[in-house]
């Protein structure tokens, strides 16, 4: 069994590392520091951790202000409240003036579980992706989370990092290289390309294995950088395999599936099947049955791949 760790846990732990070398780094939270794991940073650097209370709009506004003074704020809460409640503050006070704020939101997607539909963010990628000046990163595991935090720090401007609540297998090792705007080729193949992000990367690899049993050669791309997106990798995959499947723990409207569809429409139209939440709200439940109910399993990816190939 591969080691398992949530991306939020990796985030909290790695913040401490980054804080060691970057004295301008400050962390803000909105009464969820236990859940977002920024309390790990708070323990190490109590003077650089600020809890604004249950006030997400102010969380983003104050982060913007801190950034104007050369601080490097990492602002955290749940994805639904950060990208949702504070959306327009992110747009107008962080992205419009292109301020150096890192927005790291946890509890994205359906895998929030029992808290239910009011807390399961299935639209944050769409909301963050549409804003000019924003970079959108969606890590698949703990290692990629760390690499993305390094990459985010190297950017002088707003970055959104999408984190999850549930433990997910660690897929990469320390030699893994992440580059903003570049897809990662996890498996080469001929018949179809599965483009996955976040916690759907594991199921995408599993789907490729199952398709192999049926004699289908599937290629797998990890699209951790959703914006900017790797146009070349997508068009090369379309030309090479002639069919694409996207897989994300997000609405099929506005997220990775839409971003890939935009690229295909622009440069290389081929059949596309989008695995994701089908324009529905989530609900309470345990994670595995929820993923099944909302069509977010390796099985769903296999079926989508077969369908995409059938449409060639």
């Amino acid at each position: 069994m591969a080691e398992k760790k949530s991306t939020r846990q990796a985030y909290g732990e790695y913040l401490v590392k980054l804080g060691e070398t970057n004295e301008n780094l400050v962390v803000l939270d909105a009464d969820l520091s236990g859940a977002t794991k920024t309390n790990i940073f708070k323990k190490a650097y109590p003077d650089r951790h600020f809890n604004v209370g249950i006030a997400e709009a102010n969380l983003m506004g104050m982060s913007a202000g801190l950034a104007t003074a050369g601080k490097v704020p990492f602002a955290s809460t749940f994805a639904i409240f950060g990208a949702g409640r504070a959306y327009e503050i992110i747009r107008n006070s962080i992205c419009y003036p292109k301020l150096n704020v890192k927005i790291a939101l946890t509890h994205s997607g359906i895998s929030v579980g029992e808290d239910g539909g009011s807390h399961q963010s299935i639209e944050d990628i769409a909301l963050m992706r549409v804003i000019p000046n924003m970079t959108v990163l969606s890590p698949a595991d703990a290692v990629e989370t760390e690499k993305m935090m390094d990459a985010a720090l190297a950017i002088n401007g707003p970055v959104y990092i999408r984190l999850g609540r549930s433990d997910v297998p660690v897929l990469f090792d320390e030699t893994y290289v992440f580059e903003v705007g570049k897809a990662g080729l996890l498996k080469s193949g001929e018949d179809v390309t599965i483009i996955a992000t976040g916690m759907m990367v594991g199921p995408a690899m599993e789907a490729a294995e199952r398709l192999k049993v049926d004699g289908i050669s599937a290629q797998v791309l990890n699209m951790g950088s959703i914006k900017p997106i790797d146009v070349d990798a997508i068009s090369d995959a379309a030309i090479k395999t002639g069919a694409i499947v996207t897989a994300e723990e997000h609405s099929i409207i506005g997220g990775l599936g839409s971003a890939v569809a935009e690229v295909l429409g622009d440069v290389a139209p081929v059949p596309l099947e989008r695995v994701g939440v089908k324009d529905l709200f989530g609900q309470s439940g345990k994670v595995a049955p929820l993923m099944e109910k909302y069509g977010l399993t390796a099985n769903d990816i296999v079926e989508a791949a077969q369908k995409a190939i059938g449409r060639k």
């Binding site: 009464d31 236990g34 209370g53 249950i54 639904i80 808290d115 807390h119 609900q283 439940g285 109910k293």
Partner: protein, 269 residues
């Protein structure tokens, strides 16, 4: 009187049992507001469990939606739906979602869960009552940490601007939020002076677990002539379960089987 005491004891037991069964949920803030909901549903509110949508009913909005278990237990005790449903809290397909869903649960007047929004919606309901010349009241329950949301104060300003004397808010002042004591995380104090400054009729209840004190407050609130009323209730988070009382760690965690047993024993004593 003994009836209310017995009723709230049953509601507390159901809260502990259902959250234990679900192995997730929010016991602390459910237990701290049990008397408030019991008094409203069993004495002060005009509601009909046989006709949950009747037009002239008083409305209740659980702005601190994470306290769903206290609302579910109260509605079940009142007969809005069978108590057996409580067992399915937070299960896939259950009508009892982690946070209240007005389209699923008989008796729930508004879907909530995102803090700060319920009081704004309640103000809208109260305004509609004014437009239509209706006599019903709109009750809303806020957490004290929830007061940190800016939207609460936007709604507070509007409620007094429109003279919504049909709006009665409760603040469950248990002094805790998720990350600790409200005064340490982000103090909302003074709560009474803030509401007063926003033009509200302010009533303070020293013991938010006393039906007598709560009753006196609600009856006074109903008589407010041109102002919305806030009833600030001093409460104990996790009330009546010794190991949960005044402990932020029990904000959003399900008790295990052993803890459920101990809690029920204490509640039966």
């Amino acid at each position: 009187m003994a009836f209310l005491e017995e009723t709230v004891r049953g509601i507390r037991k159901d809260i502990v049992k259902m959250i234990g069964k679900a192995a997730s949920g929010h016991p602390g803030g459910s237990l701290s507001s049990a008397e408030i909901l019991t008094l409203l549903y069993f004495e002060q509110m005009n509601v009909d469990e046989k006709n949950p949508k009747k037009d002239d009913r008083d409305r209740f909005v659980l702005s601190k939606g994470h306290a769903a278990p206290v609302l579910y237990a109260t509605l079940a005790a009142k007969g809005f739906f069978p108590r057996e449903e409580l067992q399915d809290l937070r299960q896939l397909g259950s009508m009892l979602q982690g946070h209240p869903d007005m389209n699923k649960v008989p008796g729930v007047d508004m879907s909530t869960g995102s803090l700060g929004q319920g009081i704004s919606v309640a103000a809208g309901m109260a305004l509609a009552g004014k437009i239509d010349n209706k006599a019903h009241k709109v009750f809303v329950l806020l957490g004290d940490g929830e007061l940190q949301e800016g939207l609460v104060w936007e709604a507070a300003m509007a409620a007094s601007h429109y003279q919504l004397n049909n709006l009665i808010a409760f603040v469950d002042n248990n002094n805790l939020q998720i990350d600790g004591a409200i005064c340490e995380v982000m103090s909302p104090f003074p709560i009474d002076a803030k509401f007063k400054a926003f033009g509200w009729n302010v009533i303070t209840v020293e013991d938010g677990h006393s039906f007598d004190e709560l009753r006196t407050a609600v009856e006074a609130a109903k008589k407010s002539e041109d102002k919305p009323t806030v009833i600030i209730c001093q409460t104990v988070k996790g009330k009546c379960v010794s190991f949960m009382e005044n402990n932020a760690g029990w904000h959003g965690k399900g008790p295990n089987a052993e803890e459920v047993k101990q809690a029920l024993a204490e509640l039966e004593a």
